[in-house]
């Protein structure tokens, strides 16, 4: 260079300026890998660190405009690959790398950011099972937070159409990828919570690359889902990988179509449940009627053959009669013995006066004996009446008191159990608890 040839003398500033010019011209885009150390991040938002390996080190600065875009937090000791340009920090005469982009070595930047955020939110309890709300069984209006033009809404509406699901869908259209998408999604979730007129909300988008789905890994979205009072189904179209939104949501569907299926399926299940209950209702009623018919038939048989009941009644009366007779005989015997004894004593004492007295005594005894016998008969009669009363309770009349009636066909008075036994015009005799009627058959049912 000419400068050196002419031996001109430079100031330090001039020299430094020259060096800076050379470096900036020749190293305006370099990729460097190394380990990060001496990391500092003051309030300015710029990032200062040293990148080193076993043999050397270089000072690095990442200005706020670039560092703001970082999804993850660099840490001392982390392996990095950085892209930047070389320059000179003139006040110190140090050269430094002005970093425009950096990513962790070995693992993608987004992946690292994902892991870091997931850990932090898990610690805070945003994924707690206990916080998850049940999904309503029969949602009538579903809110959908997604792009109005994307595949997700298309898939959801297709599924609902195919299943003839008569639900209402309310779409809150948002940007689902790129700058500002996460903010729009979070705002839409909060909007639905203010609007309130939906039963459940699907938040999602169709499949895409990790970068495309990134909005669903952002903290603002996670917090909006966590704060939602309306149950949220996440539906980010990426079968295998989970997003942060999936972890926070009350239910995770692998795709938007699957989310729609879940909503419709619960409805189909409810319809099946309703069918089963309705069937059981009919069955139980039929069984109940059968039971009552059985009871009625048993009673009708008893009415048809009253001699059965009368026979039992008569036997009871006979038994009581026999017992009464036995009691009377016994009494008479004992009284007779006593009379004989007295007569004997009388005879032994002999005086005529005593004979007279003895006669009176005898008369008295025989009168008491008659009274006693009458009392005994009365008691036996009462007992018979009580027993007859008990029998009454067993008779078909008691059943009539519970609201059943006995229907008999004239003139032979056979009990009618089904409509096949009668013809229109037949005379029927109906017996109620009180009285009865005679009526004529008009028409027959079944």
């Amino acid at each position: 260079m000419e400068l050196f040839a002419e031996k001109s003398i430079l100031t330090v500033t001039q020299l430094t300026g020259l060096i800076r010019g050379v470096l900036e011209e020749n190293f305006d885009q370099v990729w460097v890998e190394g380990e990060i150390s001496n990391l500092a991040m003051p309030h300015s938002g710029h990032l200062y660190f040293t990148l080193k390996d076993a043999g050397a080190q270089v000072r690095c600065v990442m200005f706020r405009a670039s560092s703001r875009a970082l999804k993850f937090k660099p840490k001392d000791g982390m392996g990095l690959i950085v892209r930047g340009r070389l320059s000179v920090f003139e006040p110190r005469g140090e050269y430094q790398l002005i970093v425009e982009y950096l990513e962790p070595k070995g693992i993608g930047a987004l992946q690292l950011a994902f892991i870091q955020l997931k850990e932090r939110l898990a610690c805070e309890g945003l994924f707690a099972e206990s916080h998850k709300k049940p999904i309503p069984k029969l949602p009538q209006r579903i809110g959908v937070v997604t792009s109005a033009t994307g595949a997700a809404i298309h898939d959801i509406l297709n599924v609902l159409d195919r299943r003839f699901a008569n639900v209402q869908v309310l779409i809150r259209p948002v940007k689902v990828q790129g700058e500002g998408a996460a903010g729009e999604i979070a705002a839409a979730i909060r909007d639905f919570n203010r609007y309130r007129e939906i039963d459940v909300m699907i938040v999602g988008r169709g499949g895409g690359s990790l970068e495309d789905l990134w909005a669903f890994n952002e903290e603002v979205v996670a917090r909006a889902i966590f704060d939602s009072r309306i149950p949220v189904i996440s539906a980010v179209g990426h079968e295998v990988d989970f997003t942060i939104a999936d972890f926070v949501a009350d239910l995770r569907a692998p795709t938007p179509s699957a989310a729609a299926e879940l909503v419709v399926k619960s409805k189909a299940e409810l319809a099946a449940e309703l069918d089963a209950l309705t069937h059981r209702l009919g069955l139980a009623m039929r069984r109940s009627l059968d039971g009552h018919w059985g009871e009625l038939n048993a009673l009708t048989r008893a009415v048809k053959d009253p001699s059965l009941l009368l026979g039992r009644l008569a036997q009871r009366v006979d038994d009581l009669d026999e017992r009464m007779r036995r009691a009377v005989r016994h009494l008479l015997l004992r009284r007779g013995e006593k009379a004989a004894f007295l007569q004997n004593r009388l005879r032994l004492q002999n005086p005529a006066l005593q004979v007279e007295q003895g006669k009176e005594l005898l008369l008295g005894y025989s009168a008491r004996m008659e009274k006693g016998m009458a009392r005994l008969l009365e008691r036996a009669r009462q007992e018979t009446a009580v027993n007859a009363g008990k029998l009454q309770a067993l008779s078909p009349l008691a059943t009539l008191a519970r609201g059943y009636s006995i229907v008999r066909k004239l003139p032979e008075m056979t009990v009618v159990r089904n409509s096949g036994q009668v013809e229109p015009g037949d005379l029927l005799d109906l017996t109620f608890q009180q009285g009865g009627v005679r009526c004529r058959v008009e028409t027959k049912r079944g």
Binding site: P136, K137, L138, P139, Q140, R141, G143, A148, T149, I153, H154, L157, L160, A165, N166, V167, Q168, V169, L170, I171, R172, P173, D191, F192, R194, Y195, D199, K267, L270, A271, E273, L274, L277, T278, R280, L281, A284, M285, R287, S288, L289, G291, H292, R402, G403
Partner: protein, 76 residues
């Protein structure tokens, strides 16, 4: 909202069916229970099929209020 009413009716229907299946009810009461069950089943069935299908956009206006607007897929 309507969702809860449906679930309550379904629960009532289930109770009635249980009671009837117990087989202890006198004729008149079992008829009453049956009628009640039929009523609840009809309500549930109506609720299952009633809501009309509608797809709308929820848009936010400048003043922060919301407005609903009909929505159709472009390819329809």
């Amino acid at each position: 909202m309507a969702v809860e009413k449906f679930e309550t009716a379904l629960k009532k229907l289930e109770e009635v069916v249980r009671k009837l299946e117990g087989g202890e009810l006198p004729l008149e009461e079992s008829l009453k229970a049956f009628e009640e069950g039929v009523k609840q089943a009809a309500f549930c069935s109506k609720k299952l099929n009633e809501a009309e299908k509608r797809v709308e956009l929820l848009l936010k206006q400048k003043d922060g209020s919301f407005v609903r607007e009909g929505f159709r897929l472009d390819d329809e």
